[in-house]
Amino acid sequence: MEWISTLLQGLLLGGVYSLFAIGLSLVFGVMRLVNIAHGDLIVLASFTSYVVVQALGVGPLMSLVIVLPTFFLFGYLVQLLVLNRTLGDDMLPPMIVTFGLSIVIQNALFDVFTADNRKLNLGPIETASFRLGNDIAIGIYPLAVFAIAIATIVALQALFYNTKLGREFRATSDDAEAARMMGINTKRVFAVATGIGMVVIAIAGVLMGVRTTFDPFSGPVRLLFAFEAVIIGGLGSIWGTLFGGIVLGLAQAIGGQIDPQFQIMTGHIVFLVVLLLRPTGFFPKVQH
């Protein structure tokens, strides 16, 4: 019974990781850009929500009304003004620019907020749970996060396959040159894609900020989890990221059950084993 409970927790944790991974996968899928600042942007979203909560006295969920548009705009502008200039055959510039962004975010947050742990407060719902049988309890909040992860995937799926914007995304992803010839403004497409990626990042940041504590330097770990989920699931596949997130969540939960010290390590090792046996992940599909 204890094990079933562990597996359920791992499954739900996987929902959080796939939320981390979707933004990374989306931006990579459309413009082949790996954003090293991804984890730090998640933490930045948690801090932004924290500031909004403090300043306006609203709950973390209400803060999304401000955080989401802010992050969309931020992503749109950073892509348009900075990252678009770095895209090309050479992968060094985008990597260094996002790495630079990562360092700037971390140290700026440290300068303003110090290294203290913080947490977003949602009240009693955080710890509420319902019982399944006699021994298994499922947290309502983790379940809600899992549902939000699936809803996000469904929404992105619909966006990609049922809208004009989605068509432009897919066309640009397949062949940016040809898309430009067809009159698509690929620079704007990239900016919108990063904007949407940042919205997912903001959702992940706020939801994660309620679940666990964060500090200015918790970004890199989040980036690595996101990256591992993307690779396990297979590059470019949105449903693959859900699968990858769940595999990672289960691995960590099982490792943690054996010995709390092994939680993170088990996740890394499962990732390395997948890399060794199936380097392209389980559902590889680089084009959406």
Partner: protein, 360 residues
């Protein structure tokens, strides 16, 4: 057909002058201990190991195209191996230094075989994950665990009975490692090995067609760099006298800092890390009172460089004024036979076909 003679020029006047300046700099640095200024000596030791780490990352990323964000795995591992040799092997720290490097090289072999399956940015993050695994492993094994360990006093006395003597020995070792890192990269790139490496970097497919095995070449660079990085790591923690998983495998200091140094100075040029290290220490020492601000400035500077001058500060200057301190390229000049006048003085097709270099 006329018989032409060719000269392969491998140095310029400027580079010969620069060599003289470099040698005099090393001589001056050798004289610093005479002043007895221990603060400066400690700073120079630090500059030396940052320069050595930067040279190694530059060889890895700038010449072999392997953008690793996980080199802290090898510097941290080297540091730990030094402590292991001293504490459990009873060896002297100075003998442990190269041994730690060799072990780091051996460990890097399976890492490379796994990581070479990833390309581009995925290689970057994959190496980072590997370094995290190294860190988590050292949390568990009996070398101080999570809280770390100090070098035993007996071992410290082994180096030299006095603090002054110990600092002098570490100073000279650091200097030797810095000079060694530059000499290693320089001589490697001037050899046939370097020629093959540049060929792979410029066009991997074309280089394969002339028989260069790029996998073996990159593997060779990865292992060499890991070994040297491990030795530098051993020196770093020999100077610090204390090691813990958090400090040994710190991605910010040992990876981000080094990468920014190379990129700001000029990636793919031996002179780049020198300029980058100078910028790094200038920023760090002048903003010492403002906490983490030098890292913010360093990150911003790296972004600006990538947007406006990808060749880095040194690259920008070198292209403008045609400077080169470490000439690694070959310039072919034809020498006209005296008895026969020839109308053309450029390099003809015959000249190129006559010039044969041994295949790699």
């Amino acid at each position: 057909m006329t018989n032409q003679t060719y000269i392969v020029a491998r140095a310029t006047t400027a580079s010969k002058a620069a060599l003289v300046i470099m040698v005099s700099c090393v001589v001056v640095l050798l004289l610093v201990p005479l002043t007895g200024d221990r603060g400066s000596m400690r700073l120079i030791v630090e500059i030396c190991y940052f320069l050595a780490l930067a040279q190694m990352w530059n060889l890895l990323a700038g010449y072999a195209g392997l953008l690793s964000v996980g080199q802290q795995a090898f510097s941290g591992f080297g540091g730990y191996m030094l402590f292991a040799f001293v504490v459990y092997g009873g060896l002297s720290p100075l003998i442990s230094l190269p041994l730690a490097g060799i072990l780091a090289g051996i460990v890097s072999l399976p890492v490379a075989i796994l990581m070479f399956r990833l390309s581009g940015p995925y290689f970057a993050i994959g190496t980072w994950v590997t370094a995290e695994v190294f860190k988590l492993v050292f949390f568990e094994i009996p070398l101080g665990g999570g809280s770390g360990m100090s070098l035993p006093i007996q071992a410290i006395r082994d180096i030299s009975p006095t603090t002054e003597g110990r600092e002098l020995i570490i100073y000279l070792t650091a200097l030797a490692i810095a000079v060694g890192s530059v000499a290693l990269v320089y001589s490697m790139l001037r050899s046939r090995f370097g020629l093959a490496l540049t060929a792979v970097r410029d066009n991997e497919r074309a280089s394969a067609s002339v028989g260069i095995d790029s996998f073996r070449l990159k593997l060779g660079v990865f292992v060499t760099v890991a070994a040297f990085t491990g030795m530098v790591g051993a020196l770093i923690f020999l100077q610090k006298l204390r090691i813990s998983p958090g400090s040994a495998f710190d991605v910010m200091e040992w990876s981000a800092g080094i990468i920014f140094i190379v990129v700001i100075g000029g990636i793919g040029r031996i002179e780049g890390p020198f300029v980058g290290v100078a910028v790094y220490f200038l920023l760090r020492e002048t903003t010492a009172n403002y906490g983490a601000w030098y890292m913010i400035l360093l990150g911003l500077l790296a972004i600006v460089i990538m947007l406006f001058a990808r060749q880095g500060l040194w690259g920008f200057l070198a292209e403008r004024y045609r400077l080169t301190v470490f000439p690694i390229e070959r310039r072919v000049r034809t020498v006209e036979p005296v008895e026969k006048a020839k109308p053309s003085n450029g390099i003809s097709d015959t000249a190129i076909s006559n010039l044969s270099l041994p295949p790699f």
